[in-house]
Amino acid sequence: MEVTVRLFAMLRERAGAGEVTLELPEGARVGDAIRGLGEVARGIPVVMAVNREYAAEERVLDAGDELALIPPVSGGGGHP
């Protein structure tokens, strides 16, 4: 199946695009998708969001899922 993964912040800049498309086998899990994006996420501790919720690596993906790769978050104002 083909899935589209949204990218943000430094991941979006690194990929040069707001989303990438991945070809995954049926029954693939979140962890498989993250490994498939290895170059984009290299060195960054990412989490995947599935249908707008943070998902465990074991979660099985569905062709219709809304996927996004989430790098460390820094909302909230002020300095780090």
């Binding site: 949204r6 943000f8 912040a9 430094m10 501790p45 990412v46 989490v47 969001a49 707008r52 919720e53 943070y54 996004a68 989430i70 790098p71 460390p72 978050v73 820094s74 909302g75 909230g76 104002g77 002020g78 300095h79 780090p80």
Partner: protein, 140 residues
């Protein structure tokens, strides 16, 4: 005095400038004797530039607001986050918690901002002298 036990919860992410009075009005409640707000403000740099996964950020912040309101016995809670450019001394995030008494209102506002910062899919970079640098974040 109130005819309902419902908790008012509001979450919003947009490019509009934030207003403290507006967020405070959103948590007015006749049972509330205490109202605490927190503003996160751009400091020490010309501006911060925020990017968000807006649809998810609004859903996550709404869930945080509802969970914190329940856990801390708040009358009402609200959180708003601005995206795009936020200049020095302007707020990028405002949370508000109203409760019958001081302790719950303070604890609720603190939990709101701690969780929004830790969980909302939002990123910022510092901009100074035309240089942009992503701010180090935390894994949600």
């Amino acid at each position: 005095m109130s005819g309902s036990d419902a908790v008012s919860a509001r979450a919003h992410v947009s490019v509009e400038p934030l207003s403290l009075d507006r967020v405070a009005r959103a948590v007015r409640d006749p049972r509330a004797g205490a109202l605490v707000t927190f503003c996160g403000v751009t400091r020490d740099v010309e501006l911060l530039e925020y990017e968000a996964y807006v649809e998810m950020a609004e859903e996550r912040i709404a869930a945080i607001v509802a969970e914190v309101a329940g856990a801390h016995g708040l009358c009402a809670a609200a959180a708003e986050h601005r995206v795009g450019e936020v200049p020095l001394s302007e707020p990028s995030v405002i949370v508000a918690a109203s409760a019958p008494h001081r302790p719950e209102a303070f604890a609720g506002a603190r939990a709101l901002i701690d969780r929004v910062k830790a969980e909302a899919p939002i990123w910022k970079r510092e901009v100074e002298h035309g240089e942009r640098r992503w701010v180090e974040g935390v894994r949600p």
